[in-house]
Amino acid sequence: MIKTGAEILCECLIKEGVEVIFGFPGGVLLPLYDTLPRYPQLRHILVRHEQGAAHAADAYARVTGKVGVCLATSGPGATNLVTGIANAYLDSVPLLSITGQVPTHFIGKDAFQEIDITGITVPITKYNQLVLDVDDLARSVHEAVHVALTGRPGPVLLDIPRDVFQARTEYIHPDKIDLPGFKPKLFGHPAQIKKAADLVNSAERPVIVAGHGVNIARAYAELKELAENAQLPVVTTFLGIGCFPESHVLSYGWLGMHGMGYANKAIHNADLLIAIGMRFDDRATGGVSTFAPQARIVHIDVDAAEIGKNLKVEVPIVGDVKNVLQVLNKQIVKRDHIGWLSQLDDWRAQHPATEVRDHEGVLPQYIIRQIHEATKGDTIIVTGVGQAQMWAAQYFFYDKPNSFVSSGGLGTMGFELPGAIGAKVGCPHETVWCIAGDGGFQMTVQELATMVQEDLDINIAVFNNGWLGMVRQWQELIYNKRYFGTQLYNPDFVKLAEAYGMKGVRVSKKIDVRPAIHKAMEHKGPFLIEFVVEPEENVYPFVPPGKTIVEFLEMPSPLGSLKK
């Protein structure tokens, strides 16, 4: 059947299972926006800034496991996506960005709103393409989605000129992929898996380090089976949070700069690390030369280039972690590791990292814990980046996979609001809490309008401490309290919410925290709570940069006694 490029794009997206597009129109996209209403299966959500479209599609992909789609016009629309694409790249998120481009006869002539977006996004996409011929469009969409989702997921971009949207051709849906250079290894080498099993079976102080890859591969059951069969303690990475239930007796928190002291001690003293779907990021390892000095390392990852990148490993296994664990689990003998686990329990008792201390003022940690209690842990938490993010990771207990959505690798402030939109659209039956700092919240605050327009039932907690808190904390602890460029003059967040047409309350007393949380949850539609929190609260534990992960600073005791 003869169709236009715009129609072919819509048909292809539907074929690929796409249901939602986060977009913002513009000149060269007009032929597509003229076509979209004829495809009501594709829900279009109008954001207020293209960065919001990319983050929303990113979070949508994280919670659903499907490809997230964002749409932007040429020039500034496309460049506004860049932060969002980079965010997806570093966190391995299957994101399809579609950008409009000036008509083909204008390309290379610095036409109005022309920018070389495929050139700009080379280092932050897994694959991108400028589609110059309408006959290539269907194949390009099919290939792009396949690449985004297969192996280690990642962002892809298609740049489509206006005249390609308008051109007509016979539409045949491509059923084959022909990318001879794309060869992800999905099944681990049996001999390597055997070696790994031998190490696991003979280890005395083993620790599993489970990363985002377990969440991506949805290998929760396999991970649990491995941990339980051999009684292996599980430490997750920051993005691995939720891939193993934190209430499980074998769960020992997450590692790294703000990770739990006992998790870091477990890693440091282990004789074997079974690293699964993680990449030894510097925020996780601290000083890499002194990381896990006694441990032999088994590293399972679908991306061969991640193995041996940051540190040497003894048994590399390239493969999808779900497939690899299925084979590995068959070769694991039952163990109990009683001595080792009780050692870990002692460390956990010595370094309580998730206790909320008694304090009159409104502590951010207390708020997070109250949200956990009010939701019974059954919610999706979406965070920005900074102190609020760390408290949300530490003081909420995540038992559900993919219930913690956060910008890990890129550390993008401003991810929280659009991220919450993507999470809610992807999981409309889940409650969603957006945990925002006053800094990051204002970076993408315009997306409140999107929430109101779409009437999304999102609960927003803004932690107003009047500072860019994490930077202030570093200035306090590392730069001798020379505060500069970190104090915020803030708007009235409640009035701001009301101006956008949503409900909001301000909480500045501890006693009002719980009622406000319940009020937000009972309310249908977006609801904002501004929490006026302790202004100079710090995130602990804290491993100063470059230090070994067991050299963590804990909360100084004069601040208040710990509630046991």
């Binding site: 080379v122 022909d178 990318l179 001879p180 250079g181 080498h189």
Partner: protein, 189 residues
């Protein structure tokens, strides 16, 4: 150990491939000493020879990163395989009636060819290893080199088949990997 590495890659002929490869090398702080690209016996494919300097572990890391580029079909570091590596240079050298015969002698020793003669200069073409070309250039420098153009190194591994050889019975077709039977021995992880 820092040394020169020769990477050879089979890539799809698509716009942007060179950009992606250069960008990956730049990001890892590799200086590209030379890069040579040309078509091969198969349609729609090109072969690249990239010469970089670096330590073995870093080059292996960047090789893996390059291998992830979708348009890169195969890539190998053939440094250790004693490959046949050659480059070509065209050199325009000042030649007066008094120096011309001396230059021609040198050209003969190096089995280079003179391809253009003008009253005050010669253009000669030389093919050989990087060392040979370097040595010739040094010898000619005294006469006055007016202009010069060198190709990058191109290289083929010795022996019947190399890491980039396309076997006739195994067409380059992408298919999603299937689970291997349990006892099958797979190539290196």
């Amino acid at each position: 150990m820092i040394r020169q590495h020769i990477l050879v890659a089979l890539v799809q002929d698509r716009p942007g491939v060179l950009n992606r490869i250069a960008s990956t090398l730049r990001r890892r702080n590799f200086n590209i000493e030379s890069i040579a690209v040309g078509h091969i016996e198969q349609p729609h494919l090109s072969r690249m020879t990239i010469v970089v300097e670096g330590d073995d572990a870093n080059v292996e890391q960047v090789r893996k990163q390059l291998d992830k580029i979708i348009e890169v079909i195969r890539i190998a570091d053939i440094t250790g395989e004693n490959p046949v590596a050659r480059e070509m240079a065209m050199i325009k050298v000042r030649a007066t009636p008094s120096t011309r015969s001396e230059i021609i002698q040198i050209v003969d020793i190096f089995r280079a060819n003179i391809v253009d003669v003008s009253p005050d200069s010669l253009i000669l073409v030389v093919t050989g290893t990087q060392d040979k070309v370097d040595t010739l250039i040094e010898l000619l420098r005294g006469f006055g080199i007016r202009e010069m153009s060198r190709t990058g190194t191109i290289a083929l591994p010795r022996g019947g088949s190399g890491p980039l050889t396309i076997e006739e019975h195994k067409p380059l077709r992408h298919a999603v990997e299937q689970a291997p039977p349990e006892e099958e021995i797979l190539p290196d992880w």
